[in-house]
């Protein structure tokens, strides 16, 4: 049985990501795609097959030529899958930054106060 490839496995490969980026602006034939990469044509064909298998790429036959184009709906699905997780960490890290900025500000103020007290001949506060 052939192992069905999953979207994330397909996206894990840098060549496949490059192919998607290239095809995103306009549909292209396998030959035109292969011409942009310094790898053998069969390798590109294999990448195209994997991208089609997981629905990231679709193809249209126009006469004797096959044009590949990006399946936008599938790409959005991938993005949506990771977005909530990223947003959760983004919010958490924003909070970290805010807490530490505040801490830094308080620290600087305390130092300034200590300086003033030293100048006035007092011991710095703990």
């Amino acid at each position: 049985m052939k192992l069905r490839r999953d979207v994330f496995q397909a996206l894990a490969d840098p060549t496949r990501r490059a192919i998607l980026l290239m095809v995103a602006s306009q549909s292209m034939t396998a030959g035109a795609i292969a011409a942009s990469f310094q790898v053998a044509r069969p390798t590109i064909s294999k990448h195209l097959a994997i991208l089609q298998e997981c629905s990231l790429l679709s193809s249209n036959k126009d006469g004797r030529e096959i044009f590949y184009y990006v399946n936008a709906a599938k790409m959005k699905e991938v993005d949506d899958f990771l977005t909530p997780f990223r947003k959760m960490w983004e919010a958490r890290f924003d909070q970290l930054e805010a807490v530490m900025k505040n801490y830094q500000k308080n620290q600087l103020e305390n130092q300034a106060n200590d300086q003033t007290q030293i100048q006035q001949g007092n011991r710095p506060s703990e």
């Binding site: 960490w89 909070q95 530490m100």
Partner: protein, 157 residues
Amino acid sequence: MELKTKVNSNEAEQQLLITRTFNLPVDLLYKAFSTPELLGQWMGTQVLELENQPLGKYQFETRDGEGKVVFQAIGTIHGVTPNKQIIRTFEMLNTPFAPQLEFLDFASINENESELKMQIIYRTKELRDQMLKMPFASGISKAHDRLETLMIKQLDQ
């Protein structure tokens, strides 16, 4: 809007890499993870204990308005290198999730900026994928309630 936080998940691996740049000197970024009061403040949970030292341990707990415990997490600190690295485990209690191993690498970019790389290793790829689908599970706090509602809505769509 472009998010400052990057999440890389490679299907071939049972891990996640979370990267983020902060407008903070590296010592303050490290402090946010190593000082109990500060960690509790930004995580939105109560840090019951945190021994930031080799073979140290920590415990988090969050209670709702009625005092009911809604989130409990524990872990051990495996190793620390101040301002550089923390290696720790993390386990959410009363959930089906297995403990995970976390490598936190801190790096200074310049005197006002620093970068955090969090490598989280899960027991299986399936658990990793489940975590991605349930981000709200790992950080239940009152401050995140609104965000969580939003995320649940998105997942339902």
